[in-house]
Amino acid sequence: MEMVDRPYAAAFEAHALRHPEVLCLSADLTSSCEIDGFRDRHPDRFLSLGMAEQNMMSFAGGLGLAGFRPFLHSFGVFLYRRPYDQLVASVAYPRRRVRLMGFLPGITTPGGMTHQAIEDVAVMRTLPNMTVLEAGDATEVESIVAAADSVDGPVYCRILRGSVPRLFETPLRVGEMRELALGTDVLVVTAGIATEEALRARAALDRAGVSVRHLHLTTHKPFDAARIVDHAASVRHGVVTLENHLIAGGLGSQVAEALAEAGLARRLVRLGLQDTYAHGGSRPYLMRYYGLDALALVRAVERLTGQETGIGEEDLSAVRLEAVHSAVKAEAL
């Protein structure tokens, strides 16, 4: 599998240069958000706002009022926890075309609780006027820039940084999910880095004779509930959601709401952080520890089908991409 180095950096620079109304804002995490090159090459398009996210959020609202489309770069968690009031009053309510680029979503940071955005999707999707996107591979990181900037209103994006695998060939489009497999036993719905785990699990499940239907979600809001319901109705045993997020308020909740409102009775297993904070550690360790990995997904599928597949860790490591990951530098701050 191809690994792409810093896909955001090049994609943002190319997009910004084509659109003079785009501004690059940073809150003291410039190299951490891969915009250091942009800052150095295009200082007149770069605004350093320091460690002051509340001001940055309202300031961006003012820039939006002046006709600019500011891209705010920080770790996802810093774009909503501290400046939530400003996010609502200065950005979401007035539908400013502010693009919130949230790096290190969920447990992709070893920074522990203070750095881990584990309820960002829940918070953002409940805000009226907000669009919520999530990138799951290098192609989506590259295309999320233009996709987000096409929205007439504020957008929050979960961005992957560093060395990112390329899973998809076609760009992310707002509102469109990817149908990755059309099996008939179990529906698996994933987003972001969870999709890569599901791909591993699927390879093993296919060999074990389980027919998986797999959807990759790119747009948490607006959420295509009807399509989810259609797919859920097409499988025998039920639905598993796997998300790099709390199971409350995110993908699992969205699917549950869709099924309930449609009156479609299907069992649902929600994998993700189970009403818990996480601690600091490497991404593979945290995914295993909190049950966000391919093995957890296999076990969930077994619970739904009532049949053990015999798939163990060894079987999954055969399709694991760990070797690729370990070749890249550890997720530093």
């Binding site: 605004l47 350093s48 706002l49 320091g50 002051a52 509340q54 001001n55 940055m56 959020m57 309202s58 300031f59 961006a60 609202g61 003012g62 820039l63 939006g64 009022l65 002046a66 006709g67 600019f68 009031d85 400003q86 009053a89 200065s90 309510y93 007035p94 539908r95 009226p128 006027n129 007439d152 209103g153």
Partner: protein, 309 residues
């Protein structure tokens, strides 16, 4: 657009309208009119370069919040004139001064007196805490401390676009208890945003009472100067002094004018309520009548005919 009235007359009119409205409606933001009448009159009649209002004299009813499904949404900014490059923009950061702002719009011919009858009525856009869609408002500021940041962003953007109009924020001193104010000042100074200025009503009052009792903020002027802003201070009720302070040069830096005011200016009867002045209610019909007569006498106007009220 300049009004035919003098700034002093407009200030008197603001106090009178807020007083009459509060007596009729059994309470209101009286002390905000006392402290800020001259400041609003000065902004609208002299300091700001504004075009004529683009909105109906009687504000239309609430027409929905901003959403993709509400394409006809407009803010209340049109009451301050069009958002043309050469015109100034005004944010009223403490939206609790809305009643004072509406009274000023009436006094300056931008809103009909009937508009105030819709104040705080269900279905009206003339809301008690000024909303984006309320007359004279352009952004939500009911959550205190966000106005200066938004104005700094707008001012930076306007400067980048070469617009000559400036951005002004009417602020309150209580807001400086919010950390965001200081983030905003440091950002405006760092980015040399000098088409931004603020007029701060320093009345030393906040919702719970006197600021010194609730949370002392120390020497606001010294703190702002330490952050790099240009600060001018004046008597908020002395219009020539306001003129002089607002004319302070501030190239490369934001200007903040501290207008030291009395929360009972023109209505000294309210001293009896000190320090609970944020929102004055009447505790009995007798008190209401007593206040009606006493303050009317101070303002040199007849008491409000309460009739059936």
């Amino acid at each position: 657009m300049r009004n035919e009235k003098s700034t002093e007359e407009i200030a008197r009119g603001i106090r009178r309208r807020v007083f009459e409205h509060s007596i009729r409606n059994n309470g209101g933001y009286l002390s905000q009119a006392c402290s800020a009448a001259e400041q609003f009159a000065f902004l609208y009649n002299e300091a700001l370069t504004l075009g004529p209002s683009t909105r109906p004299m009687v504000p239309p009813p609430f027409a929905g919040v901003p959403s993709a499904a509400n394409p006809d949404y407009v803010t209340g900014a049109g009451y301050n004139g069009p958002a043309a490059p050469e015109y100034d923009r005004l944010f009223i950061a403490p939206a609790h001064y809305a009643l004072v702002a509406y009274a000023c719009l009436i006094e300056t011919g931008r809103m009909a007196p009937e508009g105030l009858e819709q104040f705080n009525k269900d279905g009206s856009s003339v809301e008690m805490i000024g909303a984006e869609h309320s007359p004279g408002m352009e952004v939500h500021n009911g959550t205190l401390g966000i106005g200066l940041s938004t104005a700094a962003g707008l001012a930076w953007g306007r400067k980048r676009k070469g617009e000559t109009g400036r951005v002004c924020v009417f602020m309150s001193d209580g807001e400086v208890q919010e950390g965001q104010i200081w983030e905003a000042v440091q950002a405006a100074v760092h980015h040399r945003i000098d088409n931004l200025w603020a007029l701060m009503d320093v009345n030393r009052q906040q919702c719970d009472g006197a600021m010194d009792d609730v949370m002392a903020v120390g020497d606001i002027a010294a703190k702002l100067r330490a952050f790099g802003a240009v600060v001018a201070e004046c008597d908020a009720h002395d219009i020539p002094a306001l003129r002089e302070a607002a004319a302070t040069p501030h190239e490369g830096r934001p200007l903040i004018v501290l207008a030291h005011s009395s929360p009972t200016q023109g209505m000294e009867f309210l001293r009896r309520r000190f320090p609970r002045l944020h929102y004055v209610r009447f505790r009995s019909p007798e008190e209401r009548q007593e206040m009606n007569e006493a303050i009317a006498a101070e303002l040199g106007i007849p008491p409000v005919d309460l009739g059936e009220h």
